[in-house]
């Protein structure tokens, strides 16, 4: 009898140990990997709490269907994910469902996170569980009818979403596959950089071709030389992700959050892997049009405005000042098919990101108050078609739309 008890006790202990081995509360390695993946996934970018430090959520995420309040993902039992199991977390990341079975909206990029391995979502889960719980009740039903019906996501998912972990391509290098995993999985770059179809789903053939969001245009980051990053060197891409600044451009708008919270803190090897993947994958982009002739009256008016309002910083030859004021010549952002990026910056101004290795965060002022729609259109047309640049002329209607969309919004402040 005694012997049986001991045996049972031993068995029980063995079971406990086995469980502990799977979820080791002191698993330094897993926690650190989770922390890194949380950074690579820029969870903080959306989930930052009202305290500016935790991931207690509450921000309103703008979508074409209405604003979505971002949930609390601290381990608070009542208002956060304190009661979630690792399996619950994996389900949310992998198929976009909450523990109660209801659907998440794809503003939460489970369409990308589905590519993450179970080991990686477990690591993120372990890291999130190790944070301080913060009580912050977030209203999870902010979308208007009919988008407030979460069941509708069942149909959306059938049309727009294929769950499945990332499969490396054995024909490609290790760096390429690592880059592909980061870009398509935790990095969820496509959430902004891939255009949406009318349902807000990814347009698969146009992957990373650039997309509109929040009054900005997330530019083409395919290997296209004219519109994408095809002409960027590996070092340029790494510098951009590390510091937010290169001679060519400066991260601002939503990308400044990505650099501040995420890419500036990633390893060199991973940034190089991302560069490898982006440079080696396919190029997608409309062929460069004929530039608008410099004799065009709008180009001539634009040239005069440029000289007066832009040239002091960006230089007469469009070369800018490396690391401070973006070069406009051979700058992809200003030549995107959709001119929202350049119009946003001219009308609204923008502060570039401050990263640990580039702390200055210089800003471009708003010129809204002193340039008419016609003047903004002319100077944007001039910049898009000078020094070797080529892009469609900007219309006053496009300027007016951006002026209305950005009215009353404070200048983007970077981070």
């Amino acid at each position: 009898m005694m012997r049986g008890t001991i045996l049972a006790a031993t068995l029980l202990a063995a079971t406990t140990l086995a469980t502990a081995a799977r979820a080791d509360s002191d698993n330094f390695t897993e926690l650190q990997r989770g922390r890194y993946l949380t950074t690579a996934g820029d969870c903080m970018g959306c989930h930052i709490g009202p305290d500016g430090q935790s991931m207690a959520g509450g921000n309103l995420l703008e979508t074409p269907f209405g604003n979505i309040a971002v949930p609390n993902i601290t381990p608070d039992n009542k208002t956060g994910i304190g009661t979630w199991s690792a399996q619950d977390f994996y389900e949310a990341m992998h198929v976009g469902k909450r523990p109660d079975g209801t659907h998440l909206y794809p503003a939460f990029p489970y369409t990308s996170f589905t590519k993450m391995s179970r080991a990686d979502t477990d690591a993120v889960y372990a890291y999130l569980r190790a944070q301080e719980p913060v009580a912050n009740e977030v209203d999870r039903n902010t979308l208007p009818f009919p988008f407030n019906i979460r069941l509708a996501m069942w149909a959306w998912n059938r049309l727009n979403f294929t769950p499945g972990e990332f499969k490396p391509d054995p024909q490609r290098s290790e760096a390429y596959n690592r880059g592909a995993y980061l870009v398509e999985g935790p990095g969820h770059c496509g959430l902004c950089h891939t255009p949406r179809n009318f349902m807000g789903g990814d347009a698969a053939s146009d992957e990373l071709k650039g997309g509109a969001l929040q009054g900005w245009f997330a530019p083409n980051i395919t290997a296209d030389k004219h519109l994408g990053i095809g002409a960027w060197s590996e070092a340029e891409i790494v510098d951009y992700l590390r510091t937010g600044h290169t001679a060519r451009t400066a991260a601002s708008g939503p990308m400044s959050e990505v650099v501040a919270y995420s890419t500036s803190q990633m390893t060199d090897a991973d940034l190089k892997a991302i560069a490898t993947y982006l440079r080696e994958r396919s190029a997608v982009g409309a062929p460069a049009p004929q530039p608008v002739a410099s004799t065009d009256p709008h180009m001539q008016a634009g040239a005069a405005i440029y000289e007066d309002s832009c040239a002091a910083c960006h230089a007469r030859d469009g070369q800018g000042v490396a690391g401070m004021f973006p070069r406009l010549a051979d700058n992809q952002l200003v030549q995107q098919t959709d001119p929202s990026g350049i119009l946003h910056v001219v009308l609204q101004g923008s502060r570039s990101v401050a990263a640990p290795q580039a702390v200055t965060a210089p800003a471009m002022p708003s010129l809204r108050w002193r340039l008419s729609d016609q003047q903004v259109a002319d100077v944007a047309t001039f910049i898009r078609n000078s020094w070797g640049n080529a892009a469609a002329a900007v219309t006053t209607d496009q300027v007016k739309t951006m002026r209305d969309a950005t009215a009353g919004i404070a200048m983007s402040q970077g981070n």
Binding site: C313, A322, G323, R351, A358, V359, T360, A363, P365, L367
Partner: protein
């Protein structure tokens, strides 16, 4: 009054010296709080290029300066007068807010001459003690040029200063200032591009046997990244420097050069719109315990700290010590006490040349420190035998601006109004150039600072009283150098030259310069000053003072370069000596 948790360091004022102290000590791991009387300021938000070049707002209405309603001084020319409050700042304009006066300066970034630091013994040795006027209290600094050289060098690297070395490790360099002290390194960035006036000055001064060189400039000439990782862009010669914040990230300032790195430090905190009212001490007065301040809502707070750093503008450092009753007030009658002693200013004057209509200076394209200089009559670079004065002045040909509201030059003798005035202005506006001097200012027994017996500020504290006038030694020096400026203007080809000599009595109304120095002088013995050679208070070892209030007298240069060098010199002592043995005097009295 509420008592706050103790900090390692409390800093009074967040300008040049406060931001540098805060950044370096936070990097050293200390928990630092800076308390700033004025508002938070930031280049991107407050000085963006769309709105920064606003002459009416900034130059005429003096937007970024201290309001006299918050604090002012009373002034008089001599001890037998009753001082009255300055109700509109004029002769000098104290800065306010984060960045302090470092936001609105012109960017002249000088090193004093080696002989400026042992001024009294140098002149005495060369000319005999009799060269000093009887009441002149000029004295040697307790620190040498050689000791400050590495700190001058680092401050210039933080600023990105543009210039050309004249003396590299003792070897005289062509095109630089042959009179300057030795430099361990070239300037971080090349000189600004001279304009027509500077090229003409260079030629004329050379022909007259002088040694012209480009003004060391805080408006920098090329893109630059400083040792704190902060980036700057080249100056665009927009001409909105003095009295303005720079929108181009081109003018060295705390905002452009230090704050972007400082604000990232988690162990640094700034409290703005909070005015420090008192430095607190232990009952025996031997140690500082922190400061008391009043916030914008009028609430009073006590901020305890182990180390107290006074980094406000010169005049306000002096007054804060007076109000806190730390140290002995200087009394000119009994010649006792040190606090408020050796106040000095600057002696500026010059000539204007009027040129023919085919000489177009285009001075609208300018920069605060775009200039060509000659130091042949500065410091003791010339023989003072028989001249009857000590000191000297730099000679400058600068193009700071031709901003539209205030630039209305006319020919000498033209009417002051009406169509003839307008005609004369049109004839003159692009065809005149000044050649100026910036002269030394010696201290005197009856020139000093103390608390006013009558007037108080909004909090009921006495205003500080200034007793100052230009003395004959300095006026004679100035006349001597101003005559040289007229010679240069004529040699540049001016058809007419007008010369204005400096005259007393000192008047608080017209702007002259914001180079007020002295009052908390650094000295070799406690009898001669308020702080020791490491800027540590002689009586209170955990209290350090920064800025131009440390100067025993003022040289023929703008003070900022020396203020910066002294800050890094003091930091070196705090980090490497004081903190190893805190609470102890670094120099035995």
């Amino acid at each position: 009054m509420s008592r706050l948790p103790k900090k390692d360091v409390v800093i009074v004022g967040l300008g040049w010296t406060g931001s540098i102290m805060a950044h370096e000590l936070a990097m050293a791991g200390l928990d630092v709080v800076a308390i700033e009387r004025g508002p938070w300021r930031d280049t991107a938000s407050d000085y963006n290029i769309g709105t920064a070049p606003d002459e009416l707002r900034y130059a005429v209405r003096q937007d970024i300066f201290l309001r006299p309603a918050q604090d002012t001084q009373t002034a008089r020319n001599s001890m037998d007068q009753a001082a009255l409050p300055i109700r509109k700042y004029g002769s000098y304009l104290p800065g306010n807010g984060v960045g302090g006066a470092g936001v609105h300066w012109n960017g002249h970034t000088w090193r004093f001459f080696p002989s400026d630091f042992n001024l009294r013994s140098h002149y005495t040795e060369r000319y005999g003690a009799g060269i000093f006027p009887e009441n002149c209290t000029a004295q040697d600094w307790p620190v040498t040029y050689d000791e400050l050289e590495p700190h001058y060098d680092f401050f210039e690297k933080v600023n990105g200063t543009s210039g050309r070395a004249g003396n590299l490790k003792g070897a005289i360099q062509p095109g630089g200032n042959p009179f300057e002290g030795w430099r361990s390194d070239e300037y971080p960035t090349k000189p600004l591009s001279p304009n027509l006036a500077q090229i003409m000055f260079q030629k004329a001064a050379t022909e007259l046997g002088m040694h012209p060189f480009p003004l060391p400039s805080g408006n920098i000439s090329e893109a630059y990244t400083n040792p704190y990782g902060v980036r700057m862009a080249p100056c665009t010669y927009c001409g909105f420097c003095e009295w303005f914040g720079c929108a181009n990230y081109s003018k060295a300032s705390p905002l452009a050069c230090v704050m972007p790195a400082l604000v990232r430090q988690p162990n640094f905190e700034a409290r703005t719109l909070c005015e420090v009212t008192k430095v607190n001490t232990t009952p025996d007065g031997k140690m500082a315990t922190g400061v008391t301040y009043v916030d914008a809502a009028g609430r009073e707070w006590e901020q305890p700290a182990d180390l107290v750093l006074l980094c406000a503008y010169a005049l306000f450092n002096v007054r804060l010590l007076m109000i806190s009753k730390i140290g002995a007030q200087y009394d000119p009658v009994s010649n006792t006490g040190t606090l408020g002693r050796n106040y000095a200013y600057q002696t500026n004057a010059g000539s204007v040349g009027y040129f023919s209509k085919d000489v177009n200076f285009n001075s609208f394209a300018g920069a605060g420190s775009l200039g060509m200089m000659a130091d042949d009559y500065n410091g003791d670079n010339f023989d003072h035998t028989g001249l009857g004065f000590v000191g000297g002045a730099n000679i400058n040909c600068t193009t700071t601006n031709a901003r539209p509201i205030r630039t209305h030059p006319t020919q000498p003798g033209a009417p002051k109004w009406g169509s003839a005035w307008k005609r004369s202005m049109v004839e003159t506006v692009n065809h005149y150039q000044s050649v100026g001097t910036q002269g030394s200012s010696m201290p005197y027994r009856d020139v000093y600072l103390d608390l006013d017996p009558t007037y108080t500020d909004r909090l009921g504290r006495p205003l500080m009283r200034m007793t100052f006038d230009f003395k004959e030694n300095d006026l004679k020096m100035s006349r001597f150098v101003v005559d040289k400026t007229a010679e240069i203007a004529r040699a540049m080809g001016a058809s007419k030259v007008t010369t204005s000599y400096k005259k007393g009595p000192w008047n608080v109304v017209p702007y002259q310069t914001t180079h007020n120095t002295g009052g908390t002088v650094m000295s070799s013995t406690p009898q001669d000053g308020v702080v020791n050679r490491y800027t540590q208070h002689w009586d209170v070892p955990n209290l350090f003072v920064s800025g131009a209030s440390l100067f025993p007298q003022n040289a023929g240069y703008n003070p900022t370069g020396t203020v910066g060098a002294l800050t890094y010199w003091a930091l070196d002592a705090i980090k490497n000596k004081y903190l190893k043995n805190p609470g102890q005097a670094l120099v035995q009295a």
